[in-house]
């Protein structure tokens, strides 16, 4: 009974935690400019993330160490510096975007310019991390994030053409503006497969004291949670395809995206959009800053846990405090959240090889995982994801220049 409860909570947490500033923006841009056509990229990103999370969760539950721990231990400090720096730079950009997303939500609701909200948001986030334990931080915002289901409702009210959507789940080539199409595709993948997601998930497995008994919970949470969550991102794309594309509206400012739900659902849709943006971006803010603090603490062997009082893990607590304030700065200085989001998604996509490729080595290490090493299907999937990550690394900069808009 307890396990079913954990399972349900895990799935719900994953659904509510899937959407954030990057996935909302890239899905809206994709739907507005290419209709349903980029749905297959969302599906690819969602499935890739599900596999990566399942593997890092399994790694933690069986080896009793997080992915960050093992990156240091198995590959040595000299290699570890590479994913450390890459994830840090990328995550800081994404963190700033998420704070920007929360700030935009508050601006839409109150009329007060987004830059004035950045520091209060950082402080609120800090307070929750300071006082709250891991369960509160992880589950609280994710449960509230279920308000994102409003995207699914909005899409259904607009009566999408299901056969066309079904076909769009298969890879296709663009009929126009190729550079822009592939640029948005890369951004969608960057938004879906962010390293902080599986680093955080792996640390969460240790915070929740997972064991081999939790492997089924891990599998169901990672797969179903992300598939349903990814479904919400596809709903956002569909909504944009049905509201913006026929009117030839392109997303140039984040504020325009609220019209996606205000059109099918009226005032309720507008309110739900503002709530969705606030809650999902705020949840992502907490997740990302914790993931960065975890990476530092685990990599250098400091004491760490969101369940400990801050005085017991001073370097860990100081890390998330400083990072939150640092990430708020670009928004305080007035940097456009949508531009920041677009850049951070592409940079994220380009950084994937340094965290995806080492996983292949670890997931086949019998000393670490005993009989729970990858089977050939998981290895095949991981090789495909690794190859995609290399393509993204090579293509990211040229596409940013050609299709960045």
């Amino acid at each position: 009974m307890k396990k079913w409860g954990e399972l349900a909570l895990g799935v719900v947490t994953s659904i509510g935690g899937f959407l954030e500033v990057g996935s909302i923006a890239t899905s809206a841009q994709g739907g507005a400019e290419f209709g349903y056509q980029l749905a297959w990229v969302l599906l690819l990103g969602t499935l890739s993330l599900a596999m990566l999370m399942e593997m890092t969760g399994r790694l933690a539950a069986v080896s009793k160490r997080t992915y960050a721990d093992l990156l240091r231990e198995r590959f040595g400090y000299r290699f570890f510096v590479l994913p450390l720096v890459a994830v840090f730079v990328v995550s800081l950009l994404v963190l700033a975007s998420e704070i920007g997303g929360v700030a935009i939500a508050l601006q839409m609701a109150t009329g007060v310019a987004f830059r004035w909200w950045a520091i209060p948001i950082a402080l609120l986030g800090w307070l929750l991390l300071w006082r709250g334990n891991f369960s509160i931080v992880e589950q609280g915002t994710a449960m509230l994030g279920l308000v994102a289901i409003s995207f699914a409702v909005g899409a259904l009210v607009l009566h999408p053409t299901w056969p066309t959507l079904g076909r769009a789940l298969l890879p296709s080539l663009p009929s126009h503006d190729r550079a822009r199409y592939w640029y948005i595709a890369i951004s969608i993948l960057g938004a879906s497969i962010s390293p902080y997601l599986y680093l955080f998930y792996s640390a969460g497995a240790i915070e929740d004291e997972w064991t081999i008994e939790h492997l089924s919970v891990n599998r169901v949470t990672a797969v179903f949670g992300n598939v349903f969550g990814g479904g919400l991102a596809i709903a956002a794309l569909v909504t944009a395809a049905l509201v913006f594309a026929p009117r030839e509206i392109k997303v140039d400012r984040y504020e325009q995206i609220a019209l996606l739900l205000a059109t099918p659902l009226g005032r309720a849709g507008f309110v739900f959009f503002v709530m969705t943006l606030f809650i999902t971006c705020f949840g992502a803010t907490l997740e990302i800053v914790l993931a960065m603090a975890y990476l530092l603490a685990q990599g250098f062997g400091w004491n760490w846990s969101e369940n400990l009082k801050p005085g017991k893990d001073a370097r860990f607590s100081t890390s998330y405090t400083v990072l939150l304030l640092l990430a708020a700065l670009p928004i305080v200085l007035g940097m456009d959240p949508l531009s920041l989001t677009n850049i951070s998604m592409v940079v994220t996509a380009a950084s994937l090889p340094v965290t995806v490729i080492p996983l292949f080595v670890l997931m086949n290490d019998g000393d670490l995982l005993d009989t729970h090493v990858n089977g050939w299907p998981s290895n095949l999937a991981l090789v495909v994801i690794a190859l995609i990550s290399i393509v993204l690394l090579v293509a990211a900069l040229p596409l940013q220049l050609l299709g960045g808009g």
């Binding site: 240091r72 400090y77 510096v81 006082r131 334990n133 004491n303 400990l308 801050p310 607590s317």
Partner: protein, 126 residues
């Protein structure tokens, strides 16, 4: 009698003290060379420039520059005799009190001067 791979199972492994508190990782191992005696693994190095030195001279230069910025000659490092090792498993337990280690200087300084003065910081668990 088992064998342990130094590079695979010792270097970079998480260290815990006698109270099971995390106190860093093994950043370097020093081998003692004495005339007429076989070399032996003598010292565990925690913190300091050892980590940076393993990456390369450029990293060492950055490390020294950062510490110079804070007015320190270099980061506090701890040298623990390898004989203090009690258990080598997923973590390596050493028979020391973490609070006495130089490498924990930053942790203690932050805890006493920065973190604990803020309400809600003290205590064990949330």
């Amino acid at each position: 009698m088992g064998a342990v791979q130094l590079s695979h199972e010792v270097i970079d492994t998480q260290l815990v003290d006698r109270h099971q508190e995390k106190i860093g990782r093994i950043d370097e191992l020093l081998i003692e060379l004495e005339d007429g005696k076989p070399p032996r693994v003598a010292t565990i190095v925690i913190g300091g420039a050892a980590r940076a030195r393993r990456v390369g001279r450029w990293m060492l230069a950055c490390h020294r520059a950062v510490h110079a910025l804070f007015g320190q000659r270099e980061e506090h490092a701890s040298h623990v005799p390898f004989g203090a090792v009690r258990c080598i498993a997923d973590t390596i337990e050493i028979d020391v009190d973490g609070d006495t280690l130089d490498s924990m200087h930053l942790e203690h300084w932050l805890a006493t001067r920065v973190i604990c003065p803020i309400p809600g910081a003290s205590g064990e668990r949330k």
